[in-house]
């Protein structure tokens, strides 16, 4: 217990003492995972909408693949991405292994099925008659998607939070494809593993607390946006 207290004190020291290394590691975590989340949204939302609204051969299999993908083990993703990106691998010529770009790539593979799966679920939860009504009053296809998206936006925000939460807390893939290189690919989770291995438990706990604070702050922001919408509901008591 004393150890956790020491860690909390250390965290305060590192953060408010503006420790350059800790700040750069934190910022890199945010960048890599933020970038990965953004790309996952660009892929996952259209994919989820298509799976929810379209009927095509192989759709059942595609849905099963996405649902499986929502629980992809990060170390497995890390291993396969590494095999592709190593110099000896098929994409070795791109020299991406042990770069932040490689970490973004691995995290996108982890996060986009989560975003796609939750997007699909949120669109399928809408009343099917809504689409018919909107088309009936003369909405174009673009307008239809926009209006349905507005209806589904609360669960869509949950998809953003789940995707971001999944990748910022992930360690296996980041360790393997990033290599935990100081000043280049060291992020909060890999630094926590390293400091634990070194026996610097206070710093490890401090890094863990910073990670928790960061994800909490971001989720708080997203939740406030989400719940502000929700408050339009009448009081039910």
């Amino acid at each position: 217990m004393e150890l956790i207290w020491q860690g909390a004190v250390k965290a305060a020291e590192l953060v408010f003492g503006f420790d350059a290394e800790v700040w750069s590691i934190t910022w890199r975590s945010l960048q890599v995972s933020g970038y990965a989340t953004l790309i996952s949204l660009l892929i996952g939302i259209p994919l989820g909408i298509a799976l929810a609204l379209q009927r095509f051969p192989g759709r059942g299999a595609a849905v099963a693949v996405i649902n499986t993908g929502m629980g992809l083990p990060p170390v497995v993703v890390g291993l396969f991405v590494s095999i592709f990106l190593w110099r000896s691998g098929p994409l070795g010529f791109m020299e991406l292994i042990y770069t932040p770009t490689a970490m973004v790539l691995a995290q996108v593979i982890i996060a986009f099925p989560i975003v796609a799966g939750l997007t699909m679920a949120s669109f399928q939860a809408l009343n099917p008659n809504l689409a018919l009504q909107l088309l009936g009053i003369g909405a174009s296809k673009t307008q239809l998607l926009w209006l349905l998206g507005k209806e589904a936006k609360l669960p869509l925000l949950a998809a953003v939070m789940a995707g971001f939460g999944g990748v910022i807390s992930e360690v296996g893939a980041s360790m393997m494809v990033g290599g935990n290189i100081r000043g280049q690919t060291r992020v909060l989770t890999t630094a926590t593993v390293l400091e634990t291995g070194k026996g610097n438990f206070d710093i490890a706990i401090a890094l863990g607390l910073i990670l928790l604070a960061l994800t909490f702050a971001i989720n708080l922001l997203l939740t406030r946006i989400q719940q502000r919408e929700h408050l339009r509901w009448p009081k039910l008591s």
């Binding site: 945010l30 960048q31 890599v32 933020g34 970038y35 989340t37 953004l38 949204l41 190593w86 110099r87 000896s88 070795g92 010529f93 020299e95 292994i97 042990y98 770069t99 932040p100 770009t101 973004v104 507005k150 936006k153 925000l157 953003v160 290599g179 935990n180 290189i181 100081r182 280049q184 390293l194 634990t196 291995g197 070194k198 026996g199 438990f201 971001i218 922001l221 946006i225 502000r228 919408e229």
Partner: protein, 284 residues
């Protein structure tokens, strides 16, 4: 209105991060040297001292990948690294004989020690030879924590068991599958015996309460060597960069830094520099 502000917030949150994700210019690629090395060199902090100095002097940018020695050598043999700094002489010699790695040069050594419970149930404190100590641990079925990860330390441990004529298995033989620091913590919690390099043991300090029971045996020498990767292993091996780093590690300047590393923090040096010597000349 609310939709717009929501999207604006999302845009700022994610879009703002686009700025400054480090991109790599094409011209910098050949300046990258990938060093595959072991957790002990990284965990001890030695590389944090040497690598920035090498980068400054040579203009190369070093990507240090610290994994177990088995993996470090395998990566180098596939041409996925340019230079290897590891500590498993028997494994290293296989790779050199096979031609995947070349120009093996000694850099430094430190030593392994056997630590264990204060009450020493296997009574190894009185035995001075490592092999006799291992036999006693096996006979007493006393808990022993092994790295179990094909690292340099694990390789040495396996060869010692083999020399002692023991095939360790059973509930007393615990394989952690983790790095040295984590393994020592397990040994500490389980009150078990373990073989560790002295550097990591010192670095963990008070956290590990198990005392050193066997030390100073020649069988416990921990020798680090640097090897260059044969360019034939892969299409993009940075031969010049790998050689430059290897040359740096055996240079008088690096050797001098190694000699004094750790004195300030632990009151004793963690490594003994031995560039340009032969293995037979080393002693504890």
């Amino acid at each position: 209105m609310k939709t717009r502000s929501m999207f604006l917030a999302l845009f700022i949150l994610t879009g703002g991060l686009l700025l400054g994700v480090p991109s790599r210019g094409a011209e910098t690629q050949s300046r990258n040297v990938i060093l595959s090395t072991t957790t002990s060199t990284q965990d001890s902090g030695l590389l944090d001292l040497l690598v920035p100095l090498f980068e400054k002097q040579s203009g190369y940018s070093v990507k240090t990948i610290s994994v177990g020695t088995g993996q470090a050598l395998a990566l180098a043999a596939k041409g996925d690294a340019d230079v290897a700094l590891v500590h498993a002489p028997s494994l290293e010699k296989k790779y050199v004989a096979g031609g995947q790695l070349q120009n093996r040069r000694l850099v430094m050594y430190n030593d392994f020690v056997i630590i264990g419970p204060k009450d020493d149930p296997a009574k190894i404190r009185t035995v001075k030879s490592t092999l006799a100590a291992l036999k006693a641990i096996e006979q007493a079925r006393a808990a022993f924590v092994s790295r179990g990860d094909n690292s340099g330390t694990h390789t040495l441990e396996k060869s010692l068991w083999k020399e002692a004529g023991i095939q360790p298995n059973g509930a007393w033989y615990i394989e952690s599958g983790q790095g040295m620091g984590a393994t020592l913590n397990i040994a500490n919690e389980r009150n078990a015996y373990a073989i560790t390099d002295r550097g990591t043991y010192l670095a963990l300090g008070k956290r590990v309460t198990l005392p050193i029971l066997v030390e100073g045996d020649r069988a416990l020498l921990n020798i680090y060597s640097v090897m260059e990767v044969n360019p034939a292993n892969g299409p993009r091996v940075n031969t010049a960069g790998g050689k430059a780093f290897a040359d740096f590690m055996v240079s008088p300047q690096a050797q001098n830094l190694i000699k004094n590393f750790g004195v300030e923090k632990f009151g004793q040096p963690l490594f003994v520099p031995v560039a340009h010597k032969r293995e037979e000349e080393l002693g504890v």
